[in-house]
Assembly symmetry: C2
Homo-oligomer: 378 residues x 2
Amino acid sequence: MKIKIDREALVQSVQDVMKAVSPRTTIPILTGIKIAATSQGVTLTGSDSDISIESFIPTEEEDKVLVEVVETGSIVLQARFFSEIVKKLPENTIEIEVQPNFLTVIRSGKAEFSLNGLDAEEYPRLPQIEEENVFKIPTDLLKTIIRQTVFAVSTSETRPILTGVNWRIENGELICTATDSHRLALRKAKIETENQQSYNVVIPGKSLNELSKILDDSNDPVDIVITANQILFKTKHLLFFSRLLDGNYPETTRLIPTDSKTDIIVNAKEFLQAIDRASLLAREGRNNVVKLTTLNDGIIEISSISPEIGKVTEEIQSESIEGEELKISFSAKYMMDALKALDGTDIQISFTGAMRPFLLRPLHSDSMLQLILPVRTY
Amino acid sequence: MKIKIDREALVQSVQDVMKAVSPRTTIPILTGIKIAATSQGVTLTGSDSDISIESFIPTEEEDKVLVEVVETGSIVLQARFFSEIVKKLPENTIEIEVQPNFLTVIRSGKAEFSLNGLDAEEYPRLPQIEEENVFKIPTDLLKTIIRQTVFAVSTSETRPILTGVNWRIENGELICTATDSHRLALRKAKIETENQQSYNVVIPGKSLNELSKILDDSNDPVDIVITANQILFKTKHLLFFSRLLDGNYPETTRLIPTDSKTDIIVNAKEFLQAIDRASLLAREGRNNVVKLTTLNDGIIEISSISPEIGKVTEEIQSESIEGEELKISFSAKYMMDALKALDGTDIQISFTGAMRPFLLRPLHSDSMLQLILPVRTY
């Protein structure tokens, strides 16, 4: 293999595929990045066997030459060194040449690196995915959906299935659910699809977090293909593969209360700031718990006590309070996570008593729902 | 004590004095910030007993009311909570009122915090320093002097005196020296002083680093007062006290070679980038060592080998090489630290052989000198 490649394009590609490379892998070759040059361009691959990312640099793009392939071929280079080296090379063009015994020479200006490479034949093959049954989501919407759900996955391996986000696709609608059994986030979105196939899969939360980092903020569509044990996200020059979690996701519909006894309408941003202040002292305690009390004239009191440090109370003017009076305690962190996901609009909070889960929803949309279990206090 | 205070001014002051507060202090009251209100304004104090910082907020500044002192007095509040609270309060004005038993109420908008305070009488007194024998350095120059020397202090407590920077003042000149016995940084500057008093003190490196963080980038003069065991830096609204290190700083003049066998003139920035690249592989090894070899026609070769990973060589065109041929190895980290301190200008490097310390100097100034001991390689 011998190529001359644009430094900026290479740095960006390396940065993308590095997201999948883990220094703590048990498969030594996966600490490397695979570089493969064909007459069409150069493909970089990084993988930790759960996530695999492939980035393609075409020979030309928008009339700019990005790669000159002098000789096709492939090599695996240590990801950590290779990524540091390409970032710091002096000139705009980098030459990479593989010599006998996988010794790889990287030249730029008067700097010359010789790295001990590995045989690309030893690098695991990526899953072959048939590109039928593709559905499409705009990039920015996909990032929003991920942000609004993935925070609620479980971080404990006690029930591994809860470390993922459940994606159900039915009748042209995507329904994403995440829960750690103390709170639940649900987001719906219409999707573009050419067939009526239904899916019900669980994607690791970690995969969605990494995917979100390498997606841009355009509204270009992302192609999504689901197979029995893999999901593939495909943008113009990137392929992002993630394994799916094994097992059945719990049925969550029956957890969501359908009636309510107290309904509050409040501005999410003001409410978030008050909870944030109240939690300043609560964080010190074991639970980070704050208390909400409905008062007269649509006033909500948020309070918290930390006996050794002090206490805090704040009154918020709500848009409206309907139904029974209420005193309820909950985790400030869960409430803040949910309010952030709701993006600062006016929201409705529906309670069915101090011991029952309560719901947060945007006021004029049923695309999203956040559920939180209260904390029992004495 | 009861005051109404501008939030922004308070946030800035708290942030400054927090630099001196350590959560790991053995004196419980020092985890707090002392707040004292007089008819002139409010003084905040933070201290870890090595460093003490006092910030003054006057009642008025540039026709803007910053503090309204309703009742004078003082209190100590937990630094961590107090600083988080003032940052997150909703309105531009904050009311702080001390009630019986040091209970302190902080109000802003509809948010009200009650914090358990401590008796300000228990807070240690700051050293009383006679403000005679003041000398002055512009703020920006003081920050530059600190940056160009403090990195070379020792991080080991084996010889505590070397964890500080030696400041000698003689005949209107300040000479700052730092060494960890493997390298040495020396910086001279003219200072403004009203007397001919000489000083020879050692200031803890940590104090200088913290001082540097709270100084702005103006060229307003900083007043400096030195006593037997304290140094005081004084700006418009800040007092920064540091204890001095006990003991005699070693005589370093005789370490600095006066002759040379090989002299190189090179651009510090290009040289720094080449060393940085060569050290990418060297970092993996035990020593982070790179090798410099003089070639013909003013060319310098920088190289490094890390047997398992690979090797790197780079040629740099120097301005000139005079004297004997040379092969020398040194710590890439020490070289990069020194080159960064030299601020990217053309520099002269003077060698007296592969086993002897060598010197780096700006080409047209004798205000600074960096010395590095080479590494023996076989």
